[in-house]
């Protein structure tokens, strides 16, 4: 298979000189993917890959493959793919597989443009990803790095933030919301949950609500996502949310406060349910401590009022404290990087 956009590495391991190892943490997200290297800048890319539809678009665009926001902007000239779904690889068609490979190649290219370093990567996957999904990610990334480990995303966040004991991490992404209780060990299945009512669900709910209210309007999922990313809130609106979209070809300003509120509220029941259930199942002597150490991360944690809502709701069970990490979008990749850096060399050599 020819994969456009995949970095051509000189060698996988043998060609790297001593001291040129680069550790990377990768958060492959349904909406955005992030990579944090041990040396150099971090990068964030929208998880879109597009190939020009025909020779005309290839000539106009001047590139054989486009990624992220660039791909989204030129989507009408592209065969556009969003190859990740619910935080794992879709792998339904050959082209989607190519898109995953190209996206991973693009991410690695950003941190290792000369392809001259030995790469050791830790990749985050949804907390309850099936073994098959983990293997699919492992296979896709494994080709481009020298050594690889796969960990649960919320665990990577917890590790990076230093919340290793008596804490609960909730990683709110586009495809999944991942829950994980940390108790001084790697969490097992009983300590983790994955809910699929995440950012994408809000987009769909918002689009449905707007389409129902303005049947003549031209709105698509992409626009709904943009509205959410700018204005999403839970609880009382700080101000009315007014946006522009066309109705019968004319751009009109609409007040979408109510629709946006309902859409954002739609992820709250499972969020609260999983949080309460996981804590309630934990050792009773530690439940109070965990309830007072709930950490939100991921793009969805930026929804205004979400931490306050959760704290208020969890207070029904006892004292609760919910905080949001300072850099929610990179928290997963940064945590994975910390794991990669701390991992003893002998483990890498064996894995």
């Amino acid at each position: 298979m020819t994969v456009k956009g995949k970095p051509k590495r000189a060698s996988k391991s043998g060609g790297s000189k001593e001291g040129e190892t680069l550790h990377v943490g990768i958060d492959l997200g349904t909406s955005r993917s992030a990579i944090s290297p041990s040396k150099g800048k971090r990068h964030l890319v929208d998880s879109y890959v597009g190939w020009p539809r025909d020779f005309v678009s290839a000539k106009v665009l001047g590139k054989s493959v486009l990624f992220g926001a660039d791909a989204l902007e030129h989507r009408l000239s592209l065969d556009l793919y969003r190859p990740l779904e619910h935080g794992v690889i879709k792998e339904t068609t050959e082209r989607e597989q190519e898109a995953v490979d190209a996206l991973i190649g693009h991410l690695l290219e950003q941190v290792n443009p000369d392809h001259n370093k030995s790469l050791r990567a830790v990749v985050g996957v949804p907390a309850q990803a099936l073994t098959q999904s983990k293997l699919a990610i492992r296979n896709a990334v494994g080709e481009s790095v020298d050594a690889l480990m796969v960990v649960s995303e919320p665990f990577a966040v917890a590790y990076g933030q230093g919340f290793l004991d008596n804490a609960m991490v909730i990683d709110i992404g586009a495809g999944t919301v991942d829950f994980c209780i940390m108790h001084g060990a790697v969490p097992n299945d009983e300590d983790q949950r994955t809910s699929l009512k995440a950012g994408d669900h809000i987009d769909e709910e918002l689009l449905d609500a707007l389409t129902e209210r303005y049947p003549e309007a031209s709105i698509n999922l992409n626009m709904a996502r943009e509205f959410k990313e700018h204005w999403a809130f839970v609880g009382k609106a700080e101000r009315r949310v007014e946006v522009d979209f066309p109705v019968n070809g004319r751009m009109i300003t609409h007040d979408i406060t109510e629709e946006l509120s309902r859409a954002c509220d739609s992820i709250l029941p499972p969020l609260l349910e999983h949080t309460a259930e996981l804590i309630a199942k934990f050792d009773p002597q530690f439940q109070d401590a965990i309830r007072q150490n709930i950490i939100l991360a991921g793009g969805g944690s930026q929804i205004r009022g979400l931490a306050e809502y959760l704290e208020r709701a969890m207070s029904e069970f006892g004292p609760a404290k919910v905080t949001t990490v300072s850099d929610p979008v990179y928290a997963g990749a940064d945590g994975a990087l910390e794991l990669a850096k701390d991992m003893p060399p002998e483990y890498w050599e064996e894995v």
Binding site: L135, A136, G142, V150, V186, D283, M343
Partner: protein, 422 residues
Amino acid sequence: MSSDPANTAPRPKQAILREVYESNRRLNDGVTGTASPVARATPHRPGRLRWLLALPLVAAAVALAAWNAPGPPRAELPVATARVAPADSTPEPVATKTETTETPAPSATRPPFADETKTAGPPGGFLPPLPNDLRVPQALLAAATAPRPAHGAVPRDAAPSDALAVYSGDGFDDVSLRSLFGLGVRTIVIDPGHGGIDPGTSGKLGTREKDVTLAVAQRLKALLEHDRSYRVLLTRETDVTTSLSERVALANDAAVDLFVSIHVNYLPNTTLNVIETYYFGAHSDADALRLAEHENRGSDYGMSDFESLVRNMRDTIKLQESKRLAAAIQSSLTGNMQRTKRELFDVGIKTAPFVVLLGVKAPAVLAEISCMCNPEAERRLRTPAHREEVARYIAEGIVDYLEANTRKGDESNDRQRQAKKS
């Protein structure tokens, strides 16, 4: 784990790193069977995972094709003929595995049931277990296992169900074995396709197959429980990830009598809205195989499991009844829905190698209740009213099937009484 205080004691960071390393080793070992590391794993091959998933399908298709293929009478079918696997697609052909172990050959390579009992069974008649471990009463089987006149031999292209058909002197009666043996239906398992991390197919409006199937299944359960007082179980009650083998295990553990899997189709490059109902068999056409590949995604059966399941396909009662059940549900769904939805295409009942149908030890069908690629169909699938409607029609199909069997059973008893008198 969560409630074990010993496990809640903080561990040093090194211990956590060690656990991460061990879990990744286990992930590798689960696939390769050795501790071969990720970095030294064979280079990534595009679609390798899909190929692995498709392997059981290829094996099933080959086995079933051989089963139904014209050729020498099945009793004389050379075993090796049916074991041929495509050389270019199977590094370790099924045949090799089967031959090196001493497990019995798959049912497709075996002679029909009656011949088998005659040639290989111990005196007095060896009876392989039927679904749900039901054993056929000796008296009832006498007709089926008695030496047959030459003109009554099972034709080489006969359906597998014919192997247990009853010889009445004029040929083989098309009598339902279920009704003949008085096997009542008590437990019905409804299987809402996909779920959890596997959304199934999606429409342009964002409707997800897993949501539709669950909603329809819940309504169907309520209808069946209300009207017929059956014990009705769902393979998943909520939006949770459930593997195909877990669904099969749940059904078998519950001693299922009927199994109905509910799915929604998506046809590529068209907006046609078709309804089709499947039972297990070699794929009827390319679309059926494509669909089976799609619905079998997430199967965690190993090859050894699959071989064992294929062997179980000699359960002729299951095939026969699955076909009848599929026909009843298809007829009810299309007959009712075409009255108001003119764009619907009735493509009838089909066969395809769905893993979930193969494993269940009872009559099992898979209904594709609509097509998400049709915008109007997708819009309807989002409404509670339409979901209720679909559930009602499936329920009617199930009830029709059960009532038809009851009638057949009565007729069969009448014929037997008359035969005894004469």
